[in-house]
């Protein structure tokens, strides 16, 4: 994990290795703990943790060369950015269809590949953006408005 990059918005970057299912969830648990340490409410840290977990598993299962999870926290927002360099998603609408999955058998045996991961990310985010091109890669940006009383919640 890198140190925060600027004073206004604290950012943390995790690199996720492709195929490293043995460590699946480790980065997400660290992200959730770090957000709590930074004063994010339990409910917001939970939403962020679930988003991070789904994105982390996607990077492990689907990306060719791994990817990064960047989490930035400001007074009002939590931004979680997932980025990889391929293979990319052929049909984003189809990928966002509940129940659709291209997970390999080894992943479904472990209880992944229910076709719910991207949906869970959408449901826990206040804003969800996905961009993908075959052969180039995928980026997903999830924005959470902090909902605790002392946060402005206006991203």
């Amino acid at each position: 994990m890198q140190e925060p990059t600027d004073a206004e918005s604290k950012c943390l970057v995790h690199y996720i290795k492709p195929g490293d299912i043995e460590h699946g969830g480790s980065a997400s648990a660290q992200i959730k703990a770090e957000l709590s340490r930074l004063g994010v409410s339990a409910a917001d840290a939970r939403r962020a943790g679930i988003i991070a977990f789904e994105g982390e598993i996607n990077l492990i299962v689907y990306s060719d060369g791994g990817g990064t999870i960047t989490v930035c926290v400001s007074e009002a927002c939590i931004e979680i950015l997932f980025k990889d360099d391929g293979p990319g998603i052929e049909d984003i609408d189809l990928a966002l269809t509940p129940g659709f999955s291209t997970a390999p058998l080894w992943a479904t045996d472990l209880g992944f590949g229910a076709g719910m991961g991207l949906i869970n990310m959408q449901m826990n985010a206040d804003r969800f953006e996905i961009h993908s091109h075959l052969g180039e890669g995928t980026s997903i940006r999830c924005l959470l408005e902090r909902r605790e009383d002392d946060a402005s919640g206006n991203c």
């Binding site: 699946g24 969830g25 480790s26 598993i57 209880g111 229910a114 719910m116």
Partner: protein
């Protein structure tokens, strides 16, 4: 009801050491699809599952679950128990099926 009390009432084997069981359990959830558990299990719930690999611990951590109860006698690897202990996730076990465990847990929480 605390997890310790539930463990005693349901005669559960406690796999983790050094993880606090004196925590209140708010509900229960049964499921073996991890994303479904993330979507539907409430924080503080006891999760009953036959999945017993290391990623289960990550799910319990990010979802803030009250603990993981492994059903049907499945046996996790020592590395899974270690990860649970490191993450502060109570890991319990029973030879009974998920159906039977859920049936026994339900009246304790309602």
């Amino acid at each position: 009801m605390t997890l310790q009390e539930i463990a005693e009432r349901l005669d559960l084997e406690i796999l983790t050491t050094g993880v606090d069981l004196d925590r209140s359990v708010s509900g229960g959830y049964c499921g073996d699809l991890l994303s479904n558990v993330l979507a539907a299990a409430g924080a503080g719930s006891l999760w009953i599952t036959i999945q017993h690999h290391v990623n289960v611990i990550g799910v319990a951590q990010v979802a803030g679950l009250g603990g993981v109860l492994l059903a049907a006698g499945v046996q996790p690897l020592p590395s899974v128990v270690e990860r649970a202990e490191e993450g502060g996730v109570p890991l319990l076990r029973s030879s009974r099926s998920a159906f039977e465990l859920a049936g026994s847990l339900y009246p304790l929480l309602h």
